[in-house]
Amino acid sequence: MAGRTTRGESLWLRYMVLGSWALVCLVPMLWFLSIGLRPRTEIITPQPVYWPTFSLDAWHALWSDWPIGAYLRNSVLAVAGSVVIDLILAIPAAYSLTRYEYRGREDIGFYILSTRMMAPAIVAIPIFFLFRNLGLLDSVWALMLVYAAINLSVVTWILRSYMMDIPKELEDAARTDGASDLRILWEIIIPVTLPGIITAAVIAAIFAINEFLFTLLIASTANAYTMSVALANFTGGSDGIIYNAIALVSFLAFLPIFILVVLIQKNLSRGLTMGAVKG
């Protein structure tokens, strides 16, 4: 091995370690996919299967037996809508919490965070009645609002930490240059915090797509069923536990987040460190 440099070796080692870790993380998803694409008899047999048989039967069955399209649409609508609502509310809120000085600012900041500390079960019943009185039960709009409410505090706090890292002189310069507060927010704060906004949006989306309790409470038909609640449908019923469907729907729910994270991965990693380190 005379030709191999230490540098090459350490690089090789690094890829080995990172590759193995990636495999550990991804195998469950591939395993789910393989469960989803194999016949039921093969999945539940206790004997090891060396030559699996793949087919799209379960996939077709899923789409013909269940309103998967509606679940998918509900999930996407509710999640995307909630993230948009969160950003519209959290960006000005975070800006106010970092820049304006007023009495009780820290308390308000902490209050916002504390809403996240509450056990969800405590508000479950009131929320149910609230939406019933509003006539919003079993609707995607209700889910949108609930997801937005759940994530608002986290999104606000992530954005606040990013905004606190922006030097005050930058805003002073913009103000002397003649910019109004809204202009400063729009032309300087938002572009500069963009990595933070993306990070917060992805985190909120992940939380929202996994939300189960409130969705179950509000949704009762395909009008509002999301992917995560649909999964629960596959465990009861006359057909027993429908492993193929569970696996496929889980995979479907995982896929968009996975693609999203890969697409913005550069921003995400830069964002997470930029929030922590000054300069």
């Binding site: 310069a173 103000r175 002397t176 240059d177 109004s180 032309e187 572009p191 963009l194």
Partner: protein, 352 residues
Amino acid sequence: MASIHLDNVVKRYGAFVGVKEMNLQIADEEFLVLLGPSGCGKTTTMRMIAGLEEPSEGDIRIASEVVNGLDARDRDVAMVFQGYALYPNMSIYENIRFPLRMRGVPKNQQDALIRRAADMVELGDFLDRKPAALSGGQRQRAALARAVVRQPQVFLMDEPLSNLDAKLRASMRVQIKHLQRKLRITTVYVTHDQIEAMTLADRIVVMSRGEIQQVGTPDEIYSDPANTFVAGFIGSPPMNLIEGQVHSGRFIAPGIDIAAPGHMHGNVTLGFRPEDCGIAPDGQAGLTGTVYGIEPTGDSTFLTILAGDKQVEVKAPRDFRAPLDSCASIALDPARLYFFDSATGQRMRSTQ
């Protein structure tokens, strides 16, 4: 047309006083330089004029209108910030354009203005870059261009040339002075560089610990210092200050025995500039000591003389050389001696 008045302006941060009871009148079209050690309140004063900081007490008037409580964007000022404060998300071109856009300068005039400002600071080739892709000096010049791109009522420049090399600094200095004269815009300028202060200023304000020590033309500040702080701050090297006693018309300190104006007595500090004294030809020395150090600078030689335990700087001709520890006799120009009250530091003027 904008004069600036500070009337009894105080800035407090909690119990700490950043600027004390400041009274200052800046005339229209004047170039005023703030000079003083780090932390003396120069930036704070500027920020109050800009409207970025509210004075705790007192009034600020721009063009004889009280501007207390008026937002920065409603005061027509342009500022170069000590930390540059370039917008990281915008190219240099967009950075310079920002104030034009915010102040509603017609679109078709913007490009020419931007290019003129960029050319003035020699950044014409860097307009497409983001601030992160510029060196420190280039960023500073971009910040300067952004301030001078439009014609405000007041320029505020907080050490705008501190990060440039000597040559560029000299040429920028000329540019700034020329621009200020041509546009006739009232300018407040902060610097640590005395040459900059001397060459640019109509008047200099020397500050220390939040207080004005003296206001005057560069010549007044240099040749007529009001107290030991100003005397010891201006000039490079600054004025020699020697504490001693005056008894019956003689100022006496280790190595020195010279005539003092008649009305003084007690603890007095003598001041004289290194350039106002020379090597004494014969027995007429005002100060004697030993040579402690010798620093040729090219056009002259600076001698450090040890008189008693006090080091004294003397400017000697460029080819002057003397061995260390040899005796040195220094002649003092009696017309260029300054006396200060040792207790208060205030100048004692001769009344004859």
